[in-house]
């Protein structure tokens, strides 16, 4: 057994878990954060993507014990209260989801992607960077559209913030 303690969605959490417990299972079963999903056994589908210390990672390919001491953001922690994160809003507006199962991982990957590309994104880059997230419903068409739209919204927002600051 390991004693793990993390900050998850801004809240300090801890628990004693079997060492073999994956981070995704710690989130789902110990913290009740069931928005993070498991869709495969081989670390390929990306339904489990969360942010660990600010970077997108697959929570099915990491032990909870490994993550101890880290700061984790899950899909449940993305919105600011009742205000949706721009990526969440774009997925809804552009119909970037159908059954919703891959959606949390998609949104966490998209958020990370936009963070890493403040200069903006194009369709080819979005498609390439979605390599680790599989969706069976949408054919990716509207997911790509949603990410491009969110990227635009967010770069506009950060520009206007910068302007204000200046």
């Amino acid at each position: 057994m390991s004693e793990v303690s993390l900050v998850v969605n801004g809240r300090k959490v801890s628990g004693a878990v079997e060492d073999r417990t994956l981070l995704v299972h710690f989130l789902r079963e110990h913290l009740g954060l069931t928005g993070t999903h498991v869709g495969c056994d081989t670390s390929q589908c990306g339904a489990c993507v969360v942010h660990v210390d600010g970077k997108a990672m697959k929570s099915c390919t990491m032990l909870a014990a490994q993550a101890s001491g880290s700061t984790v953001t899950t899909i449940e922690g993305l919105a600011n209260g009742a205000d949706l994160h721009p990526v969440q809003a774009a997925f809804k507006e552009h119909h970037g989801l159908q059954c919703g199962f891959c959606t949390p991982g998609m949104i966490m990957t998209a958020t990370d992607m936009i963070r890493r590309h403040p200069e903006g994104l194009d369709e080819a880059t979005v498609r390439a960077e979605l390599e680790g997230n599989i969706c069976r419903c949408t054919g990716y068409h509207n997911i790509v559209k949603a990410i491009l739209a969110a990227s635009k919204t967010m770069s506009k927002a950060s520009k206007s913030k910068a302007k204000k600051a200046a």
């Binding site: 060492d19 073999r20 990306g46 970077k55 032990l63 990370d112 992607m113 890493r116 680790g132």
Partner: protein, 265 residues
């Protein structure tokens, strides 16, 4: 996953001490080991986590000499500005390993120590004539990679860094397996002081190897056109669902051409 005991190492010395417990294994990024444990194909009794050893992280470039700490992630290799200046081919290679989430966590040391026959890094290190530095010794890449998932590492030995002298030219091209996206054939070519080297991953029956045929052709002229009409034997190439040895033999030449074009670009 079977039951396992997790240990976090604070230093290389601490790690070597902890690896003596049961049937322990070092855990770096875990991008191959943890999936293997999840499907119960790997069953170490203990894991010694190397991720929190600060000494193992970071990239140093001094002149043409590059040293990459073993626990440096693919993401950090892909985006290192100093490395980009002396050996952009290695940054490009790292930027196409797995997917963004894998690159945030997977490490060069883990990849090298695991020596997956479809991993990208082994071909680069072999073609770069790199040296693998462990807590005990320094090993030339030619001596380090021994076959499928086999290396010269002893049980308690830890890869701490890889180091190489950046060649004048280097390029990498891979054709990914359509399903897994691992290299179905990847070729890393270099042209440096010691001539041309071309190493192939994803294709060999016995893991990463250097292609005599490609090297001979590129030694004459380091251009894609030099590979026109060159063929490599399909004997000793892997056969699986997605590629026959003959198809892989073709891909070796095609990827070598593209790697050279990238190197010359």
């Amino acid at each position: 996953m079977y039951s396992v005991n997790y240990h976090r190492a604070t230093s290389v010395v601490d790690a070597v001490k902890k690896i003596k417990t049961g049937d322990a294994k070092y855990l770096s990024g875990g991008m191959t080991l943890i999936p293997a444990m999840k499907t119960r194909l790997a069953a170490p009794s203990d894991l010694v986590d190397l991720n929190h050893i600060a000494d193992l992280k970071g990239i140093k470039v001094s002149g043409k000499t590059v040293t990459i700490g073993a626990a440096t992630t693919h993401f950090d290799v892909a985006n290192d500005e100093k490395l980009m200046k002396v050996c952009p081919a290695l940054c490009a290679l790292a930027s196409h390993i797995g997917d963004p989430a894998v690159r945030h966590r997977g490490t060069i040391g883990g990849s090298v120590a695991n020596n997956d026959p479809a991993a990208d890094y082994p071909s680069a290190l072999l073609a770069l004539g790199a040296t693998i530095v462990t807590n005990k010794r320094q090993l030339a890449a030619d001596k380090f990679f021994k076959g499928l998932f086999e290396t010269a590492l002893k049980d308690d030995e830890i890869v701490t860094a890889v180091t190489f002298s950046a060649p004048a030219k280097a390029g990498y091209a891979k054709f990914p397996n359509p399903a897994s996206r691992y290299a179905m054939t990847g070729v890393f070519v270099t042209k440096g002081k010691e001539g041309v080297r071309a190493a192939v991953t994803g294709a060999g029956d016995d893991g990463v190897f250097r292609s005599k045929e490609v090297e001979a052709a590129l030694t004459k002229k380091f251009e894609a056109s030099a590979l026109e009409g060159v063929s490599v034997p399909s004997k000793n190439l892997m056969a699986d669902l997605h590629a026959s040895p003959e198809y892989r033999a073709n891909l070796v030449v095609v990827m070598a051409k593209r790697a050279v074009m990238a190197a010359n670009a």
